[in-house]
Symmetry: C2
Subunit: 123 residues, 2 copies
DNA sequence: GCAAGTAGTTACCTAAAGGTAAGTATTGAG
DNA sequence: CTCAATACTTACCTTTAGGTAACTACTTGC
């Protein structure tokens, strides 16, 4: 209210706008785990994504200075992606989120269905 | 392929599907900070959101067992929201993300503009 | 001259998400 | 009888996002 507008006073909204989106945190997590991945390798690790959307996400992450794009003009061309120093700062958040995800996944497996039979996919 | 489908083998995608979305992590972070908030209070803290979208986010978070809905049939009715035990498990992730957000915000302020004058809100 | 291979880009179309506004329930005040 | 208040819900419409498929560039191999 006093110096900045009310919707930018909170840095959370800014970072959310950068890393949110259907596949964005997942891409960051992949790069955090595997250090360097080529375009096709990322696409292979995300079954449902299209080249158009993946390109879009990559461009936006690059524009936010979270990933680095390494283009090698070979034939055919090779493009590798990796986290920047800023992108690497998300490491603990990404890994923390993954730990919670794994925990919940185990809990839901105990509660909702037997580990050896598939009942959730029946409906 | 053997027991689970290939897109659910990674718990990250599951948790992302639950907490992702335009305002979802922000709502969780508000409730993590303020413990209990009424519908109108959440709406007031998120300037750009509409009642329809806020209701949708709240319902989905409730369905994921991340928030608790407390309906008091007073006149007019009072509805309060708070994190469930599971939702509270996101505390460190949410706060860690906020710390990174604040750090980046300060860094960007040093790089892109002077700290004492407002140049970003001029346009 | 055509296919293959990588990493895209572009055009076109459809599906989903979100905005706006009005309606719902309840009861006390006027 | 109507207004006001809270927390929605629903209908309708627009905007946006995403899917699909074709095209680009360049060189090797046939």
């Amino acid at each position: 209210m006093t110096a900045r507008n009310d919707h930018t006073q909170c840095p959370m909204e800014s970072i959310l706008g950068q890393i949110m989106g259907p596949w964005t945190p997942y891409i960051l997590w992949l790069l955090d785990n595997e250090k360097t991945l080529r375009f096709g390798e990322i696409a292979a690790r995300i079954p449902g994504i299209s080249a158009k959307v993946l390109t879009d996400r990559l461009r936006k992450l690059e524009a936010s200075n979270l990933i680095h794009r390494d283009y090698r003009p070979t034939v055919p061309p090779t493009v590798s992606y990796s986290l920047t120093a800023r992108g690497a700062e998300l490491h603990s958040v990404l890994q923390g989120l993954n730990e919670v995800a794994i925990r919940w996944d185990e809990e839901d497996r105990e509660t909702q269905g037997a580990p050896d039979t598939e009942t959730i996919a029946a409906g």
